[in-house]
Symmetry: C2
Subunit: 365 residues, 2 copies
DNA sequence: TATTGGACCTTGTACGGACAACATCCGCTT
DNA sequence: AAGCGGATGTTGTCCGTACAAGGTCCAATA
């Protein structure tokens, strides 16, 4: 025989169902504690215990001298649920779009969005995860921080698994983890960029890649594969790798040096549009014209790409849509109860031709 | 004489201070309920009430049959608290920086950040406020949506007042409300822009302002004042007003028409850098060179301002710092218990001279 | 008519007692 | 030596009572 449910819990359940049925609407006043005690054949203290918990949960509001009321506002009985996003950089020119897509989609479905940013620092990532998990969460969207490095915060992700909180990654995935990922096919993007340039006749293409995340590493991989498949040489000095910390100086300086040197490259492939715009400046400084003297390809199709005089040729991916998709996917996982049926979504990169690319100058052929 | 504090609250306070002193460390077992009742001369029920609240707050953990213990782990003794930000547009090129400043500051102090965006739509603003308020919130940072129009969501803000949830506004304030605001002195910014150009000798300056928010309206106000104080004429056709919905087309078309017409303006003052970059494109299309034929001034000192070939002269304000300050101010208000001592913070705009401005061409003098 | 005081409602605080459910320990039994 | 059972101590549930404090209403009062 099953154990008897405590009386106060029975009352609590009864009141809850009444509220869900609509028999007690928001704003309604409940019978007084004495009355309820009478009705349900229990003491006032027991009634108080039941109602106390409902007050704690925000479903009731007690006012001394007046009575106890069903809470207003609470649009639906199913309370709003919260999902979190951990980004590397809120102010980065790409991520706001992804966040915007996700936010709009989530709000529509009644979810709330907790946002935090790691600033590309793994210690901060730990703080963010800690913060996120310290309150009930329905799901998480994570953009890995320095995904090419290790994952010192593995324990937190395992904790998520244990708590059956679904999560998915965006842009990249930590290798050790099994979860869905929404990303662009970066390797193919790197390939496309270099392949187009090689097909235009370029033979000295410099590549600039941020390689502390897997996105950059994969773009570089594709960049190399394009050279191999086109039987083009790729001297190592034509590949510039840099980290988040170095991004302000190193690639710009390297580009200047290469353009001044002998056998200067006839084309640049840049990790993203932000860098491409910077390198345009390097070309201007040396009075090289783009694209006649130097072709430039960026990544991301950011708003920067069309702000410049020479509109940038770039590799695009559907940023807003990725956010929307990630949100939808996560909501589906939540509804399924955390069954992370690892179905990835990989977007194909799109070559967007504008005016920063053309065949190389004749003398360089 | 002051009213006596309830006994259970006295006990609660006592236990709290003991825990803060370190007299009771995490993991320690407290005396039993009977013992405490004895020590403090109260009944066991009263002790239970005090401890019940501490359990609710996560500071104690009760285990039937064993005892009551001080909670382990939660280094964040004061449980994490949530504050919300309602922006007009997450992906806008300015706001991410403000959000980033606020997020970093808040996370440091153990607050969590709920983010949502109105997309410049007052219905969405209502949804956002509803969503924010449906769960316990410690405070709100709001960027008003179309602040020049009315405020149909006034009821929600009054509700915030009633619930003693402190809030502050950023960029602008709805006129009907009393709350601190963190903003730039837009009127002065508009004045500076026009005044500099007038002092350079320009006499036909066109101004483009988004006037569905107060920021734009104030910049326009300053723009007009500069003309008055410099005794310069300002025909109405030289002022272009537009709304969020029109921003993609109207100002660009108007600029093209003005530049093609007789007595074309020798300078543009633009609502923001985004528009300034667009209008640079209009000038290029008519083969006018900037700044020789046309000076251009933007607002915001966004990253766009230096991406272009001609680096934009612009009116800057400390975006990141504004976010940080807003966060700090809000936290102070929370600690004071919602005493919204309406102390505004107004940042002075800064004239950042780059290469898109110079004296007007001689023939136009 | 306007005000006040009190009756009568509500919830808040506090006390007392009783038994149930669970955990631990210790001595007794096997 | 191992296992069982009960003593003992803890929190959980439930009851009853009493008075305080806040709110509402109405009738008596100025």
């Amino acid at each position: 025989m099953t154990k008897a449910e405590p009386k106060y819990k029975q009352l609590k359940r009864e009141l809850l169902t009444q509220m869900q049925n609509g028999r007690r609407k928001p704003g309604d006043m409940l019978p007084s504690e004495f009355e309820l005690a009478d009705q349900f054949g229990m003491s006032r203290q027991t009634v108080r215990q039941a109602m106390g918990e409902l007050v704690q949960e925000g479903l009731l509001r007690r006012v001394q001298g007046k009575g106890t009321f069903v809470t207003e506002t609470r649009t639906t009985a199913t309370d709003l649920q919260t999902i979190g996003i951990v980004t590397t950089s809120i102010s980065d020119y790409i991520f706001p779009l992804i966040v915007r897509g996700a936010e709009a989609t989530l709000r529509e479905k009644g979810y709330r969005l907790l946002l935090s940013s790691t600033d590309n620092d793994k210690d901060r990532e730990r703080e963010c995860l800690e913060m996120m998990m310290s309150h009930p969460l329905k799901g998480l969207i994570i953009e890995p921080t320095k995904s090419a490095g290790g994952n010192p915060n593995l324990a937190y992700y395992l904790d998520l698994d244990q708590r059956a909180i679904p999560y998915l990654m965006i842009n990249e995935r930590y290798g050790e983890l099994q979860c869905p990922v929404v990303k662009m096919e970066d390797e193919l993007g790197g390939f496309l960029a270099a392949d187009h340039l090689l097909k235009l006749g370029h033979r000295r293409i410099a590549g600039f890649f941020k390689t502390d995340d897997l996105q950059g590493l994969n773009r570089l991989k594709g960049f190399i594969r394009a050279h191999r498949e086109n039987r083009a040489e790729l001297p190592s000095r034509q590949v510039i790798q840099y980290t988040t910390e170095e991004k302000a100086e190193k690639p710009f300086a390297a580009a200047l040096a290469m353009l001044k040197g002998a056998d200067r490259p006839t084309a640049f492939v840049c990790y993203n549009d932000e860098l491409a715009v910077k390198l345009l400046e390097a070309a201007r400084r040396l009075r090289l014209s783009v694209p006649e003297d130097l072709s430039v390809v960026g990544f991301d199709d950011a708003s920067l790409a069309t702000a410049t005089e020479v509109k940038l040729t770039t590799i695009a991916h559907p940023k807003l849509e990725m956010g929307v998709y990630a949100a939808k996917q996560l909501m589906a996982m939540i509804e399924q109860g955390g069954a992370s049926s690892s179905v990835d979504m990989v977007y194909e990169p799109i070559w967007v031709e504008r005016h920063s690319t053309c065949p190389p100058p004749a003398e360089a052929m």
